[in-house]
């Protein structure tokens, strides 16, 4: 599904050079639920941006679903992102002036899908995330948990090969976080590959595999320390 090999990414300003990823190699198989942890500034977000084709890397190779994306033009990366990847952000990143329905509609619009098919897909994901009754609401009229569920619906509506989630429960209280996490597990169980970036070790225990990044490199990889054990505070 996702194979990165010896990736490096360095940010440069006039006087400062910051190495974000160095000799970074990773393989994620279809259907996995991978949690990526690490302290602030460790390179988690850079990894997520590169994995989501939002940023380029300096060297190494990256294959997404068997396709080498290293030399893809910006437009091709956009099309691939639209077709294969769903994003879930900590701050939801819903478009504040659009209704829930219209927010979910955005990726399908860029796919130039017919109205009937768009409507069918949107209604289906709204049912899945439990927001069918709120589709005409704008984000400000929803709770944090509902907003994140709307964001998940938007990520899922294009039926992506994998989901990239950046601290998806970071802005939620424990009850809502538990709901969202349960939803992600449900999605993963249905076959969608999930890569979740977090610095919350408790959350990472819910994944099927953990990766720990420090200074732009994976320093440990393996099963969660307490596999599938529900967090006490989320239970």
């Amino acid at each position: 599904m996702l194979r990165m090999s010896r990736l490096t990414k360095t940010y440069r300003t006039d006087h400062v050079e910051t190495r974000a990823l160095y000799d970074f190699s990773l393989e994620v198989k279809a259907g996995e639920f991978v949690a990526v942890t690490g302290p602030s500034g460790s390179g988690k977000s850079t990894f997520l941006n590169i994995a989501g084709l939002l940023e380029n890397f300096d060297s190494g190779s990256y294959e997404l679903d068997g396709l080498d994306v290293s030399r893809l033009a910006d437009d091709d990366r956009s099309l691939l992102r639209n077709a294969k990847i769903g994003f879930i952000f900590q701050s939801f990143n819903l478009l504040p002036d659009l209704s829930v329905y219209d927010n979910i509609d955005v990726p399908l619009r860029y796919r130039r899908m017919k109205v009937a098919e768009r409507r069918e897909r949107i209604d289906k994901v709204l049912e899945l995330v439990g927001l069918a009754g709120r589709k005409r609401h704008i984000p400000a009229q929803l709770s944090g948990g509902q907003q994140q569920r709307a964001a998940i619906a938007r990520a899922l509506v294009g039926e992506p090969a994998f989901l990239l989630a950046d601290e998806p429960t970071g802005n939620l209280d424990s009850t809502m976080a538990a709901e969202v996490l349960a939803l992600l597990e449900e999605i993963n169980a249905a076959g969608t590959t999930i890569v979740l970036v977090t610095h919350d070790p408790q959350l990472s225990r819910r994944a099927t595999r953990n990766l720990h990044i420090v200074d732009g490199q994976i320093v440990s990889a393996g099963l969660p320390t307490t596999p599938s054990a529900p967090r006490a505070d989320l239970a």
Partner: protein
């Protein structure tokens, strides 16, 4: 996608009504200023008879004071008008295909309506029958009077369409009688709508003076027995003029003269005819200034008479500079608005929008704004031109004059659309391009 972008643009306007109105006004004011200025400029710089302007010549002879040019600022130019005796002689030439001397008078007319109808003040052009075919004047009813009636004081008259509307309610009035300055005149023809702009054949009252309401044969120039009262009379001698006959024989200039010459050879022969006349008169003691006999075609005539002066050109420049300032302000406001929505563009990029789609999304908004600005600008321009119209619409029954400059034409509408397009590209291109080039990842962490 265009429909989607259009919907997003409209929603964006709804979110920021104040800013949108401000930008609309900036574009509209700039565009309307340009349209008003260009419409007036177009009118002033127009060749009103371009299909034959190369065959029509104003005839001038420098009959002015030997010690001072008629126009001290442009001493190379002869007076724009002729004395009666010179015009009469030049009219005897058989070289031109057509020829006409002419002047404008102020008169009264009545008839056609109720018996107690009040006389109407009108302007009349006293001229030859050739005036009409030479300047391609269209007729609604009837025709010019026969050329043989030019010499005598024949009571025939051609009236404008507007005067015909006023006196006869627009009916065919050919053969009917009107009372012109206490004399009965038979109507020989009614003109159709005609407004040559500028009024090149007589610039004495300004290039955009209203057209005359009636036309009578040139013989009336002498037969009226009164000094011309509606045009410009210029005399350089201080000799007293006691009678109208003395006036006709004086060197006072008050007649415009135009000839139609079919080719270069005719022009050469006419020039020789003029020069020969000048030499005769010079030998007899007239024409003390250096020989300066001119046959000036319409285009050169408009240039010589400074119909399009530098002020007009400068005004157009100022109007465009003003539009540029308005657009720059709009660019600034759009840039601020678009950059504020950069996180939204970042999200769309993350969700699969290409740079081109982001670019067109925001350019559609800018184009819609520009189209709205153009529409509003067109409306403002119509009001502006109406203002110019109101400023100059006095005195005349007939069409023409500055009023005609103020008609919104299809050309102006086309200008508005072109300007709107430039406005859209100018005001929206850069902000939309900037937004499309922003790296999406930068904005994904920030809250909206």
């Amino acid at each position: 996608m265009f429909g989607y972008h259009l919907r997003l643009a409209l929603e964006s306007f709804k979110r920021t009504p104040g800013l949108t109105l401000l930008m609309l006004c900036a574009i509209a004011v700039g565009i309307s200023t340009c349209i008003v200025t260009l419409t007036v400029y177009e009118g002033t710089s127009n060749d009103p008879i371009r299909w034959k302007s190369g065959q029509l010549y104003a005839v001038t002879i420098d009959s002015w004071d030997p010690n001072e040019a008629a126009n001290p600022k442009r001493p190379n130019l002869a007076p724009t008008q002729l004395a009666y005796k010179d015009a009469k002689y030049l009219l005897s030439s058989v070289i031109p295909t057509r020829k006409a001397a002419m002047f404008r008078t102020q008169d009264v007319i009545s008839g056609g309506g109720a018996a107690d109808a009040q006389p109407v003040p009108i302007a009349t052009r006293v001229t030859g029958a050739d005036f009409f075919p030479m300047f391609d004047v269209p007729f609604l009813y009837g025709a010019p009077w026969p050329a043989q009636l030019d010499e005598g004081a024949e009571p025939v008259i051609v009236i404008s369409r507007e005067l015909n509307e006023k006196l006869f309610g627009g009916a065919n009035s050919v053969g009917r009688t009107v009372r012109w300055n206490n004399r009965d005149f038979r109507i020989n023809g009614v003109l159709n709508t005609w407004f040559p702009l500028p009024k090149f054949f007589d610039l004495n009252r300004g290039a955009f003076d209203a057209l005359e309401d009636a036309y009578v044969p040139f013989g009336w120039a002498a037969a009226l027995g009164r000094f011309p009262n509606g045009g410009r009379v210029a005399c350089w001698r201080n000799d007293p003029i006691g009678s109208f006959q003395q006036f006709l024989q004086s060197d006072c200039v008050w007649l415009q003269m135009w000839v139609q010459l079919k080719d270069a050879a005719s022009r050469q022969r006419m020039q020789a005819f003029l020069d020969a006349y000048w030499s005769d008169q010079h030998r007899s003691g007239r024409f003390g200034r250096p020989q300066n006999n001119r046959l000036t075609d319409v285009r050169q005539w408009l240039i010589d008479q400074e119909v399009v002066d530098n002020d007009n050109r400068m005004l157009v420049g100022v109007a465009f500079a003003f539009l540029a300032i308005c657009l720059l302000n709009t660019v600034g406001m759009l840039l601020a608005k678009f950059l504020k929505s950069a996180p939204g563009a970042g999200i769309r990029r993350a969700l699969g929008a290409t740079r081109a789609q982001i670019f067109w999304h925001y350019l559609t908004e800018a184009a819609l704004l520009a189209a709205g600005g153009a529409a509003l600008g067109l409306l403002l321009a119509a009001f502006g031109l109406q203002g110019v119209h109101a400023l100059y619409a006095w005195g005349s029954i007939g069409p023409g004059g500055y009023q005609e400059l103020t008609h919104v034409r299809w050309g102006s509408v086309l200008w508005a659309l072109t300007l709107a397009l430039i406005a859209a590209l100018g005001a929206g291109f850069y902000p939309a391009w900037r937004l499309a080039r922003l790296p999406p990842a930068t904005y994904l962490k920030s809250d909206q």
